[in-house]
């Protein structure tokens, strides 16, 4: 049963993930949270791991979620499901030579879909930053996550002003990991 759920869940992701890997993240969050497969925290960690390991991010996430829920068969079911829609769609598009995509009605649907997807990704990013950066515990705003967010944001977006292209996502993840280790260590040292 869990295999079937994994397959169905990631088939949905594969069918609707327009706009590449980051387009898939809101959908994967949807599916994973609604089935209760992982919590938001664990999923966020895994997004970072997927970004830092080779291969398509969507495939990496599917393999991980599948494996965490049902071992090797789960990983296989989820990975197959996320790949299958684009595989079939490309076979069809190649056979029909893009006439489908040039159809004015299909174009009209895509004109609505694409900006909608951008809005969804934007909302997901903003929500994750606010939730991880503004943490209120016992009625007190925690300084560390807020500071970390501001510094990492400044480093990532600021680096583009200095060097064209700025720092890479993997480098940002490395810096953020180092900062995550350094900040509590400094506190422990009495800083």
């Amino acid at each position: 049963m869990i295999l079937l759920e994994l397959f169905a869940g990631f088939l949905k992701v594969g069918c609707f993930a327009f706009g590449g890997a980051y387009g898939a993240i809101p959908l994967i969050r949807d599916v994973v949270l609604s089935y209760g497969w992982l919590d938001d925290e664990m999923l966020t960690y895994m997004i970072a791991v997927s970004e830092s390991t080779p291969g398509p991010i969507m495939v990496n996430l599917a393999t991980y979620v599948g494996s965490s829920q049902a071992g090797f068969p789960g990983a296989l079911a989820a990975t197959l499901a996320v790949v299958l829609p684009s595989f079939i769609i490309i076979l069809l598009v190649t056979a029909l030579l893009k006439t489908v995509l040039k159809n004015p009605f299909v174009q009209a649907v895509l004109r609505g879909l694409k900006p909608c997807m951008i809005g969804i990704i934007l909302a997901t990013g903003v929500f994750m930053i606010i939730r991880n950066g503004i943490v209120i515990r016992d009625g007190v705003l925690l300084i560390r996550p807020l500071l970390l967010t501001l510094v990492l944001g400044a480093v990532y977006f600021g680096s583009r002003k200095i060097k064209k292209g700025g720092i890479s996502p993997i480098l940002l993840i490395c810096i953020s990991a180092a900062a995550g280790i350094a900040v509590p260590a400094l506190y422990a040292a009495g800083g």
Partner: protein, 191 residues
């Protein structure tokens, strides 16, 4: 047989050596398939990128399926796609067995506290890049903003509405607008 093996191994190499997924992979696929192997032309590569942007699923999978199909039909498509997926499948499967144990180590847990902030920043950045490329017209802006607002509300109040519903609604709305405007435009041109 050797062509199938060549397709499989070439895409396995792309899958093994590209980090960050999506557009990072296109450069390496182009290098392998257009320059080294001459399986497809540069123009075909451009076309497939455009098609990949308008169809769901991982862009790398779209490219692999297309190139494989062009070279050796369905068997070729299967070989190339399997090659693309296999390396990350193995790596992530191994990681999924270890991640829970890793997170019990204090400093690694701290590192991930930093990393989860970086993930939010990366998602925001991806959305902002897409936003820059979006047409600066009222219609896409309206679609983007309503999707943004709806998705933010869904997240904040943890409502069980899938982002797929938003996308279907946007596609449908866009189609309706197109069909309503079409006769009017024709009539206007007739006068």
């Amino acid at each position: 047989m050797s062509l199938l093996l060549d397709l499989f191994l070439s895409f396995a190499q792309v899958g093994l050596f590209t980090f960050g997924g999506g557009y990072a992979m296109i450069a390496l696929i182009e290098n392998t398939c257009v320059e080294k192997k001459r399986w497809i032309t540069h123009d075909e590569m451009m076309n497939i990128t455009v098609v990949a942007e308008s169809t769901p699923g991982p862009i790398a999978i779209n490219c692999a399926t297309y190139v494989g199909y062009r070279q050796k039909g369905l068997a070729g498509a299967l070989a190339a796609t399997a090659g693309m997926v296999l390396p990350s499948f193995c790596i992530i499967f191994a990681i999924s067995k270890l991640l829970d144990h890793f997170l019990e180590i204090t400093w690694i847990a701290h590192a991930f506290q930093g990393i989860k902030i970086a993930v939010g920043i990366l998602i925001l950045d991806a959305a902002l890049r897409m936003l820059k490329k979006m047409q600066k017209k009222p219609a896409p802006r309206a679609f983007m903003l309503s999707a943004f607002a709806a998705m933010l509300l869904i997240n904040v109040f943890s409502v069980r509405i899938s982002s797929i519903v938003l996308m279907l609604a946007a596609g449908l709305a866009s189609l309706v607008i197109f069909m309503v405007n079409r006769p009017a435009a024709k009539g206007g041109a007739g006068k």
